[in-house]
């Protein structure tokens, strides 16, 4: 039996647009297993990014909740939520969200700085992780001096630096060209295998399907289908 690391329980989220209430999520329940590669697929506006934010405790559901490591994520006090974000979850975003005035190394050390590690330990570990993602020669470059693919690698290194159990990647290849996107996908897959990390990606890049263990199809704020990869028929989409 596989361990459940995170569990979504009837997660709903509504937004108020003027006087109208829009339901971005209409109730999604989903278990995420330790060590799996889960892709959340769906067209733009389907609610997949909203759902993704919920798993990472970046947004608060209108009703329902996320259980993380057996605890109700949204009932946790701030210092425990921060601990989870810092130590257990690594975030990767479509827009990288690097701090533009910090070098690659400084960006990667941030999660370690926030948990109080010494500068020496931070720098050593960050250099090691940057080397793992193939940027050992770009430690002191600013994000602006790096290509999109390289910036995303810095973001991946930052997500990895505290050795989290879950890596959440929101459209990690969305801003990249095909070849660079493929490299990032390979890198994520390698991380899953080498670090036994749980990887959850929100994407509409079909190339992600080939390396996923499971695919959750979200449509119109609901979980449409949940498939194992072996059941997915690869048709020309």
């Amino acid at each position: 039996m596989r361990n459940v690391i995170a569990r979504a329980i009837d997660v709903k989220r509504q937004y108020k647009l003027g006087k109208e209430t829009v339901w971005a999520l209409k109730g999604i329940s989903l278990d995420i297993y330790e060590g799996e590669y889960l892709s959340i697929m769906g067209p733009s506006g389907s609610g997949k990014s909203t759902f993704f934010n919920m798993i990472g405790a970046l947004d608060i559901p209108s009703s329902g909740t996320i259980e993380f490591m057996g605890a109700d994520l949204f009932a946790l006090p701030e210092e425990k939520q921060a601990w989870v974000r810092c130590n257990k979850i690594g975030y990767i975003f479509q827009t990288y969200n690097l701090v533009t005035v910090m070098t690659a190394l400084e960006n990667v050390t941030l999660p370690m700085v926030l948990k109080g590690a010494s500068k020496k330990a931070c720098d050593a570990r960050a250099a090691e992780v940057l080397d793992q993602v193939g940027l050992g020669h770009r430690l002191h470059h600013l994000p602006g001096q790096l290509s999109g693919g390289q910036q995303q690698r810095v973001a991946i290194a930052r997500a990895l630096v505290n050795a989290p159990s879950v890596i959440l990647a929101d459209e990690p290849t969305g801003n990249l060209d095909k070849a660079t996107g493929a490299e990032i996908i390979d890198l994520l897959k390698r991380l899953q295998v080498e670090h036994n990390a749980t990887i959850v990606t929100a994407t509409h890049d079909v190339k992600m399907l080939a390396i996923s263990d499971r695919i959750a199809w979200i449509r119109d704020g609901k979980l449409d289908r949940l498939e194992e990869r072996k059941d997915v028929k690869f048709t020309k989409e």
Binding site: N53, G56, A57, L58, D59, I60, F68, M69, G70, A71, L76, E78, E79, K80, A82, W83, V84, R85, C86, N87, K88, Y91, F93, N97, L98, V99, V101, M102, E106, L110, P111, V113, L114, K115, G116, R158
Partner: protein, 330 residues
């Protein structure tokens, strides 16, 4: 199964370190923020300094005028001062003008100045200065003078009555200053009221300009970093830490800006008035205490204002749901 831990609270020293590093790596942007504070504070401080200098010039001019008036009166009584002997009686506190007068008299070549009893009646003129009541009657003070003339700085000074057997009628008493007419007094009062109103008005405007300038500089420097704050929260920063970081940063930037602005405002004001009226005139009667109080108030006010202007958006961003902070585009 592993338990969920608590995020460590970073000590103040570490926060300070991170804030300083933040200012260093954002040095250019920090300079822009600081110059916003500098402009605001300098504007206010130069206005305050200008008011103080204007007051000093007016005071100094009035004193010089008073001094000239007194010298002229003395000369009209006894002619050229050199070679003359003047008796001096002082009762109570002397005014600045009286002290100036004495200083000039002491420097006048050939003029002898001394107490009435020491001069033994050789004096050409008796000066009575000070704000207190006289302790000797005019006839005693002028005893032995060939033409007893008494020049008094106070019209309402009380004198003891004459010594029995002598007469006050022989003593001529003249005043340095006649009484101001009521019409003149009213005019002066109106002028003073207008000046106070103008000063107050300029003060209010400059405070407003300063507040808006500083608030704008700091508000911008924080709001443009909402995404960064969102990112920091994703990476495990707590709201209190983010608040602390911005509080330290804004205090440092605000303090630097306020110090530079205060110095700049004061210097510019001094340079402007000094070159126009001469540095001697503007510094002679300057209210240095008032200037120091204003400078201290400017530095403290600029710093506190910067912190207030930064802490509101920082607090707002720190409490935001990370997803919303990340979505912001400034």
């Amino acid at each position: 199964m592993e338990q969920i831990g608590k995020q460590v609270k970073l000590p103040l020293g570490r926060a300070l370190q991170i804030a300083v590093q933040g200012i260093r790596i954002r040095f250019g942007r920090s300079l822009v923020t600081v110059s916003g504070v500098v402009l605001g504070v300098a504007f206010f401080m130069s206005n305050v300094t200008s008011q103080l200098i204007k007051q000093a010039i007016a005071d100094e001019r009035e004193q010089r005028q008073t001094l000239n008036l007194m010298l002229t009166l003395m000369k009209s009584e006894i002619g050229d001062l050199s070679g003359k002997t003047v008796a001096l009686a002082t009762f109570g506190e002397t005014t600045v003008s009286e002290r100036d007068l004495l200083a000039v008299l002491r420097k006048t070549p050939g003029l002898t100045l001394g107490a009435p009893e020491a001069l033994g009646g050789k004096a050409h003129l008796l000066l009575v200065l000070g704000a207190g009541p006289a302790t000797a009657s005019p006839d005693i003070l002028t005893a032995g003078m060939a033409q007893p003339v008494l020049l008094d700085s106070l019209a309402e000074r009380a004198y003891p009555s004459a010594k029995p057997g002598s007469s006050l009628a022989q003593v001529r008493r003249e005043l340095f200053f006649g009484r101001e007419s009521e019409e003149q007094a009213d005019k002066l009062k109106t002028q003073a009221e207008q000046a106070t109103f103008r000063t107050l008005w300029i003060g209010i405007i400059s405070i407003l300009v300063t507040i808006i300038g500083i608030a704008n500089a700091l508000l911008m420097s924080v709001t443009e970093r909402f995404r960064e704050i969102g990112t920091m929260k994703c990476l495990g920063a707590m709201s209190a830490f983010i608040r602390k970081l911005f509080l330290i940063e804004s205090a440092m930037l605000g303090f630097a800006g306020a110090v530079i602005g205060t110095a700049l405002g004061t210097l510019l004001s001094f340079a402007g008035y000094g070159l126009t009226f001469g540095f001697g005139l503007i510094t002679a009667a300057l209210n240095v205490g008032g200037l120091l109080v204003a400078a201290a108030a400017c530095i403290a006010g600029g710093t506190v204002l910067s912190m207030l202007a930064a802490i509101y958006p920082a607090n707002f961003a720190a409490r935001m749901v990370p997803a919303s902070a990340l979505r912001t585009n400034v």
